[in-house]
Symmetry: C2
Subunit: 230 residues, 2 copies
């Protein structure tokens, strides 16, 4: 892979992250060629994820005062991260002059809370997408949304599509096609239940019940965070 | 999620693993409901992956003498893992009475080296698939292959399709559809270059050049491992 034009990629890592929001685009972007990748958290201690195993940061906030590509994942821990002053301060700092400011899933709510998406169009996990509007961000029901140097992906698995699109924007389509082949990305979902439009009523109901149980009052908390910023 | 029928899931973790081979199915299977998931390595020290960040084991081989679902990922570190007696011994031990013996990507070569796929049909990363035949395993060019309680996935991103199919086999299709919706798995690859049939000649050539550079003599090494087992 090319060693020309070395880039630094910083993934925010926070407790309760949906680890695939981070690990999927990290896999794709690790093949960008000549790029250095960090998982950045408040400290270098292991960070619990939603998947019963922790992720280990490669750097703390203080180690990464700037980056070329900022990527922010989401998950049930997003709201707590939005309420954490140190996390928001780091996002503001590195987001201010990053070449690319990006997110996957509800990571776009974190970017919004850091003031990095004002007036922009953005993607988000389908179940939280409308909450972008609390921050003056236009929610877009697409897998990948480009708005200038802001690039946002939809829920969880959209991180693969997002990262391939970003790879093409940075290194060209031929490189993205090479990475796609290397990852054998020829998806074949066994069912057709990946969006609320296509899931049946029982599946949708089950999803909403799970959120109500695991993250009660989530929407109201996000709204309150947005209100407090005004 | 259901707490009935608790299952233990063990992912093998080894140096040079393609981390998405593990983290993608781990995300899906962490939503199986009532299951406990471990990343199992020789020791509990951080394990380097192919993506510039390590993964942290949650258990060492000695801590996990048995499991319900064994899942083995692949990557450029696969050959070294196949040559590691301790790793193969653990796979033989837990694979002998696991309810499900599974793999993603070149993880099927590791299962084969542990004698767990003899006479079976199996999937593998497209570029290494034919090497299964060295071990008396029938290579199958599909995303997900079921053969009794052996379930194998194709290259890297096939781990999502694999894990949803396994979820359906264990918890039923309704649960798999719920997990698919939660992960917004409605893939939309920006390019059509995910298999050797569809990639253009230049992309294929580039892939083979990368393998020759990063893993010279890989195919011959796998063949030699298989010969030594006879």
């Amino acid at each position: 892979m090319s060693e020309a034009d070395p880039l630094h990629i910083a993934f925010l890592l926070f407790p309760g992250v949906t680890q695939l929001d981070l690990t999927a685009p990290a896999q794709v972007l690790s093949r960008l060629g000549g790029a250095r990748l960090d998982l950045v958290a408040k400290t270098r201690d292991p960070v619990p994820t939603d998947a019963q195993f922790p992720l280990l940061p490669t750097a703390a906030f203080a180690d990464v005062p700037r980056t070329d590509i900022l990527c922010v994942p989401g998950g049930f821990g997003t709201v707590a991260a939005m309420e954490d002053a140190e996390t928001i301060a780091w996002l503001k700092q590195v987001g201010a002059d990053a070449r690319w400011v990006t997110s996957v899933c509800t990571g776009s709510l974190l970017l919004a809370a850091a003031g990095l998406l004002a007036g922009r169009r953005a993607a988000c996990h389908w179940a939280s997408r409308d909450q972008l509007a609390f921050f003056g961000v236009e929610p877009v029901a697409e897998r990948v949304v480009f708005d200038g140097n802001r690039v946002t992906g939809g829920g969880v698995t959209a991180g693969i599509d997002f990262a391939l699109a970003l790879t093409a924007a940075i290194r060209g389509e031929a490189h993205a096609r090479f990475v796609q082949l290397s990852l054998e990305y020829d998806p074949y979902p066994p069912f057709d239940s990946g969006t609320p439009d296509r899931a049946d009523a029982a599946t949708l109901e089950r999803y909403h019940a799970m959120v109500a149980q695991h993250a009660p009052g989530r929407r109201e908390k996000v709204k309150a965070i947005a209100e407090a910023l005004k």
